[in-house]
Amino acid sequence: MRYIWSAAVVFLLSVSLRTTAQELYVFTEPASNMAAKSIGIRVTNEGLVNGGSMNRTIPELMLSFNKNLMTHVQGFFSDMDGKYRLEGGSVYAKYRFLSIDDTQKHFRAAAYGRLSTSKRPTYSEDINLEGDNSGAQGGIVVTQLLHKLALSANLAYTKSFESESRQQSGMPQPDQLISYSLSSGYLVLPVVYKNYNQPNFNVYFEMLGKTNPVNGRSYLDFAPAIQAIINSRTRIDLGYRFQVAGDMAGRYNKNMYLLRAEFNFFNVL
């Protein structure tokens, strides 16, 4: 609980200081969807810097079927167990069930689910469905946009489906987690729009927490990021997440940088 409270305090501070970008968050997804019948392609590289460096590459395809339903399909490649190899994949779907728009502001709510597989051995009770673990997740997200500021909150439940054979004896094992996050984003540039070719710069600050409901072990990460949007179509993200509090041993993404490129193709399906 104390992580949730400390997260809430820092979040409110960051809001009052107006430090933050818009709603294309780097470490979480917003309640808003892509435009209907559009395709997005992402390539993400994660660098894990916990005593030695490891790299994970995530190619990702995003499809929006209509204004409310979209899906992401990801593959995970890493050198975390020696040779660089394909370690798993994930399917994510999000359904927007509430959308209230007004002039330069909106409120959206969505429900989402994720199914992941990974052939990595397990060493930690932390569950990361983007590469490290097999499992399922269900959650809800709400996003409020207020002109240049976007705020978002997530709450999800994650259950791992690990086979006995991949569990390392004597190490903590993944089972289930409650995850929660608060994200804020602020559009820094342009101050005044002239055309679509002007680059946009957004800054983000996210707080990402997880708690094991069985034993209460938790952690809280801070994740600042910057983002450039080029030609109103291509997005470049650079972020870093680091643990500020926690007692969950053996986490992989405790200190991690992320570099991502995303390309959007609107109205092509």
Partner: protein, 171 residues
């Protein structure tokens, strides 16, 4: 084309609409605007889309030889993930009679004027479409309470024995 032809008889304005100013709610980023513009441009009857990125307004011009379907404009904005806050169209009337109930018919379309009756319209008039999903939901609720009309709530009503799309306009 067949699909398009089906629409012409039903829920369409004819080519008397030359331009429209469309204000989109919920937008603030240029990527969102570009997605909205791309969605709008997929409509065959739209000639040009000129965005004002700071005010979230798109000025639409229409092809002279094609029928403008206002409902499809709403659908395309919603497909992009947003909604219409205001749609004001410049319509060219040709000695069109508005009856005592504020109803006018032109080229198979039925218009219910909320602030005009018993008069003749001729020439270009700028009319705001005030139906559901053409104004903000709070503005629609307010209007619905004010007008107290089942036709307004549905955007449809009985005309000559059959249910038909009725556009509510404010001029």
């Amino acid at each position: 084309m067949l699909f398009f032809a089906l629409f012409i008889s039903g829920t369409t304005f004819a080519q008397q609409i030359t331009t429209a100013e469309l204000q989109v709610n919920g937008l603030t980023c240029s990527m969102c605007s570009r997605a909205t513009e791309t969605s709008l441009k997929s409509l065959g009857f739209i000639e040009t889309v000129t965005p004002d990125l700071n005010r979230n307004i798109f000025v639409l011009s229409f092809k002279a030889d094609q029928t403008v379907d206002i409902d499809q404009i709403r659908d395309k904005v919603q497909d992009a993930g947003f909604s219409i806050g205001d749609l004001s169209a410049t319509m060219t009337f040709k000695n069109t009679e508005i009856d005592a109930a504020g109803v006018a018919k032109m080229d198979g379309n039925v218009y219910q004027f909320v602030n005009a009756k018993s008069k003749t319209l001729d020439g270009p008039v700028t009319a705001q479409v005030i139906d559901k999903d053409f104004i903000s939901s709070s503005a629609f609720k307010k209007k619905a309470a004010e007008l107290n009309s089942a036709t307004y709530l549905k955007g449809k009503g009985m005309i000559a024995g059959k249910e038909q799309r009725i556009f509510h306009l404010s001029i």
